[in-house]
């Protein structure tokens, strides 16, 4: 029935490809035409035009606008597009800010909305006084300034950074009634520019006994993490720029370690010291925080990897669909092991699946935007996405994830981190009244 109504401008049918209204993603190739055709088929252009108000000039079209600022910020009408804060009164504890994925599009997180976690406030670092020292098991210890690093060959790459505790509310045994910002807001993606760590290590030389390096920040907790030398010689970067401008204070100004695909906490901010060593330091964060407890009572250590994951950002929890019709399901997929290979979407809680379109370019260890056309028939629907990466890793179903990693016996506070490294499927339930809520399916 729906099939006969859904035709594009060429009169071709929009093929349903899975249950509950999912439409062939090839319809997206001529998306404007398809939407026009589908809308037209539903509404009827002649009747809609009949009682339309005549268009008038608004005040802003009749007077000179505001002066041009030195550094522009978003329109005042976008004041709700902000991060949420876990510690707004700056109490003496950690502070988290979460990215509003449901209010953003594309794959690049604007710098002002990139998530941050700081463990002792945001330090105010004088870039002229900041130093990076590389020492320990090297042939010659060296000290670098921001100015000297700026003379080195630079590389730019997109990379997501995700807290190892992102999505932790989903360890709860029932679906927390929270939006995608609260659930998954501790992940963001930017273009980072800087100097490869391997370039600097060529200059210091590496003692063959070096197996790890310890990275340390200039913030008040002197945050410190151990990283295998394998990563140092692979794609580790001393990042100096974030989306083309100097790194934001909350993201590690004036320089941070970037370890593409690895747990956010390891991407040490305000980086001031790298020490090559023969064993991991077992610092607080690797010994305790980022060692998740398993159902067996043992715990994982050195998790490092942010595994393949995806979630739908639109529509998502808190949205209200305005009547049946054609919608685009859109979301984000990423994997710490490489590129996203494919994303499957379901509108019937996983009973049937269809392959989503991926926005090009699909970059390694970066956000990939997926899209899926969907005709909502006004009945209950459960929207899900599931990602595969180029290494053949697949995002686990909730049942698979809980079987391997367990779940809590009762819900935890949404801001708590009851466990780490959750990467299972997120489900959004659409009710007949159009309300979208977080569900487990």
């Amino acid at each position: 029935m729906a099939k006969s109504r859904d035709r594009n401008a060429g009169g071709q049918a929009l093929e349903p490809v899975a249950g509950n209204g999912l439409i062939d993603r090839r319809a997206l190739l001529g998306r404007g035409m398809v939407l026009a055709g589908a809308m037209g088929a539903g509404i009827g252009p002649a009747s809609a035009a009949a009682g339309a108000e005549p268009l008038a000039d608004d005040p802003w079209s009749l007077e000179i606008g505001d002066p041009t600022p030195l550094y522009q910020v978003p329109s005042k009408f976008e004041a709700k597009v902000v991060r949420t804060l876990s510690n707004p009164n700056h109490e003496p504890r950690n502070s988290h800010s979460r990215t509003p994925h449901h209010l953003l599009e594309g794959t690049t997180t604007p710098n002002g909305l990139h998530f941050t976690i700081n463990h002792g406030g945001v330090p105010t670092i004088d870039p002229d006084k900041h130093r990076l020292v590389i020492h320990g098991l090297v042939k010659r210890p060296l000290e670098f300034t921001l100015e000297t690093l700026s003379r080195y060959p630079m590389v730019s790459r997109a990379a997501f950074v995700e807290c190892g505790g992102n999505s932790a509310p989903m360890f709860s045994p029932e679906p927390m009634q929270e939006n995608v910002q609260a659930l998954h807001g501790l992940a963001s993606c930017a273009e980072w520019t800087g100097v490869r760590l391997s370039t600097l290590l060529e200059e210091t030389g590496i003692d063959p006994s070096a197996k790890w390096f310890i990275a340390e920040g200039a913030d008040s907790p002197h945050l410190s993490r151990s990283v295998p030398m394998k990563k140092a010689l692979d794609d580790a970067m001393i990042a100096l720029y974030q989306n083309g401008e100097r790194i934001m204070p909350g993201n590690g100004y004036p320089m941070r370690l970037l370890l593409p695909g690895y747990e956010g906490n390891m991407n040490v901010k305000f980086l001031r010291r790298i020490k090559l060593v023969d064993q991991p330091a077992m610092s607080f964060y690797e010994a305790r925080t980022y060692s998740p407890i398993l159902p067996s009572g043992k715990a994982y250590r050195f998790y490092f990897l942010q595994e393949v994951k995806s979630f739908i950002t639109s529509p998502s929890h808190g949205a209200s669909l305005k009547g049946p019709g054609l919608y685009e399901i859109s979301g984000i997929a990423y994997s710490g092991t490489g590129r996203i290979d494919k994303v499957m979407v379901s509108a019937d809680g996983g009973q049937s699946w269809a392959q989503a379109a991926l926005e090009e370019p699909v970059l390694s260890k970066a956000f990939t935007r997926f899209r899926m056309p969907w005709r909502w028939n006004g009945g209950p629907a459960t929207l899900q996405s599931r990602a595969w990466d180029e290494g053949g890793n697949v995002q686990p179903t909730r049942a698979e994830f809980v079987a391997a990693r367990g779940e809590l016996t009762k819900p935890a506070p949404v801001l708590a981190f009851p466990n780490q490294h959750y990467n299972s499927i997120t489900s959004w339930g659409v009710a007949s009244n159009g309300e979208v809520k977080h569900v487990y399916a």
Partner: protein, 177 residues
């Protein structure tokens, strides 16, 4: 004649050539600095005790320091407050991270010294002397009954403290190390 000395020389020469070749492509602007100049920043402690400074402390010496500088957040005798409990006999049951304590989870005693020295007290990090850090570490370990009430913690004794949960970890991705 080929001798080991000549071989070494030749190898050094080759290495110099190779190093020279690779360095020629970078601006080579790192300023040499010796470990003595880095010492004040070099606060990394390894589980085998590497990096532990001179000095020592006992639980009795740590108790008054704890009461003055730590208890406001971590509670009397480490029982917990706005910040985590440091002394607890809680057992782990289920996967919740909120159960983690020094005694039931942390695998290496050096982690305690390292974290106190680099990050505590929260409002005044790096304000404690090394003796004070040893004393606080000793106090916390003794309150947890992981060392005796009269044991002294120093660079030699601290790494030998056996933590109960030490062998209870699984390396998640061994091929990445």
């Amino acid at each position: 004649m080929f001798t080991p000395e000549r071989a070494t020389l030749a190898a050094s020469f080759l290495l110099a050539l190779m190093t020279g070749a690779s360095l020629a492509e970078a601006p080579n602007l790192g300023k040499p600095i010796d470990e003595a100049a880095i010492a004040n920043w070099d606060i990394s402690i390894l589980p085998d005790g590497t990096g532990l400074p001179k000095g020592s402390g006992t639980p009795a010496q740590g108790a008054p320091i704890y009461a003055e500088k730590c208890s406001a957040c971590h509670g009397d005798s480490g029982k917990g407050g706005v910040a985590n409990a440091l002394v607890s006999d809680r057992k782990i049951d289920g996967i919740s991270a909120s159960q983690k304590t020094i005694k039931n989870f942390v695998g290496d005693s050096t982690t305690i010294f390292d974290f106190i020295r680099r990050a505590m007290p929260f409002q005044a990090p790096r304000s404690l002397t090394d003796d004070e850090v040893y004393a606080l570490t000793a106090y916390i370990l003794a309150e947890n009954k992981l060392i005796g009430a009269n044991d002294t913690m120093n660079a030699e004794t601290l790494p030998k403290v056996k933590m109960p949960n030490r062998d209870n970890f699984i390396i998640r991705f061994p091929d990445r190390i």
